[in-house]
């Protein structure tokens, strides 16, 4: 009878677990998992794929992203313009100007292919997510709106070696 331990019925252990968890939730000394959303926000990983931001300046309307997109949800229109030479006496350069750059977020599958294939670093992921809409049409972000997202793109984080 040395190591006699009465066997506690399993259902009592269950009750104990829930009550302990309740006390943990109520106690101010325990960390809580909750995030009270509209008032406090979770810090998202910088890599999180929330929304795509467009750097209008960098985009050359090369169409690569629109072609690789599996959902065909990037719409680009542009035309070419002659630019004055950057330094006097230099060659006149032609430059593509974006007329339209729309991403249809109602269709986008957030795969990141467009960001990845862009050869000019014009597209970025930003961990923003607050763009729910009442109307379907508003889900199509035009280039101004996409450009606004650029402000929210986080700085790169450190890496593990």
């Amino acid at each position: 009878m040395k190591n006699f331990r009465p066997k506690v019925p399993g259902f009592l252990i269950g009750i104990k677990i829930v009550i302990v968890n309740m006390l943990k939730t109520l106690s101010p000394f325990h960390s809580k998992p909750n995030v009270n959303y509209p008032f406090e926000k979770e810090k998202l990983a910088p890599r999180a794929r929330g929304v795509i931001a467009l750097d209008q300046e960098a985009c050359t309307s090369c169409m690569l992203c629109a072609r690789q997109c599996p959902d065909w949800c990037i719409y680009i229109e542009g035309h070419k313009e002659l630019q004055p030479p950057s330094k006097p006496g230099g060659r006149q350069r032609s430059r593509a100007v974006l007329d339209r750059f729309d991403i249809d977020y109602a269709l986008c599958m957030y795969c990141g292919i467009c960001v990845e294939v862009c050869p000019f670093d014009a597209l970025f992921w930003s961990p923003e997510y607050e763009y729910s809409e009442f109307n379907m049409g508003d889900m199509l972000h035009d280039k101004e709106r996409l450009d606004d997202w650029l402000q929210t793109v986080p700085d790169p984080e450190g890496l593990e070696s």
Binding site: F11, G14, I15, I17, V18, N21, M22, T25, K32
Partner: protein, 323 residues
Amino acid sequence: MTEVLIKVGLLAGAALTGAITFTIMDVKGASWMQRRPGPLHVGLRGFIFPVAEILKFIQKEDIIPTEVDRPVFKWAPAYVMVSCVALFAVVPLSPTLVVADLELGVFFALAISSLGTIGVLTAGWSSANKYSLMGGLRAAGQLIAYELPLILAVVGVVIQAETMSLVGIVEKQIEWGVPFVVGGQIVGFLIFMVAATAEMMRVPFDMPIGESELTMGFMTEYSGIRFLIFYISEYMNMFILCAIASTLFLGGYHVPLLPTEWVNFYGPIVLLTKTAILGFILVAIRWSQPRFREDQLQNLAWKILIPASLVNILVTAIMKVGF
């Protein structure tokens, strides 16, 4: 007559507050047990959410499907609600603060509480829905199976108290100095609580509603206000059964050592505290247990609880007569 009205008014307040308090306790308690804050934004740190619920349900459309048996379908919730409310009449908050101290108090309570079965069964049947029908049958089968242990568990108390009046029972416990649960009715108390949980159709005895099996059981077709009536009655039932259990077994409005002269003052508080504690235990059980299977449930009732309560009666009787 005015006295009657005052009492009924008080009771109305008690019934609704009790039900609402238990709703809050259940939802908030569950949230905390699940490491969540629970309703929060509705106001007052979320504690007034039942108000929003009730106001919301009042504005909901009340759908009466074409297939149903209209009169039966419409009035089934009323049976459940009325049988719950009537139970409130006999519970004494203190020796004087009792709506009706019937000589047959316990017996009345048991008789009335069996009325709800009809409401549930007809609700399930008249909905013309398979889930409802199965839920209704399960509910009825369960309610009747656990009605018996409930009745038989009370008999032990009646034997000890030699009366069926609830005030009389509490007085007897005061006379004894200890509640009956200590004075030999521990088995009876456990049986009563198990049976009461089953009567409330709460986990682990919630097959009639069995969300993951029968969607909402016998309430599947009910919407809007009629659903609310079922919903409130569930909590009222929980409140009142806990109150009856604390009266019968835990000494009611009195705790040992407190002076009996003051019982009219502290009585209600004591009773409500006991009720709340029992309610909290039920909440903890609800959120930690899986549910039984229908046959296991019936086996528990017929093979364990009923024989056990019969034995309990006989033992109590022998003690009573023999000593």
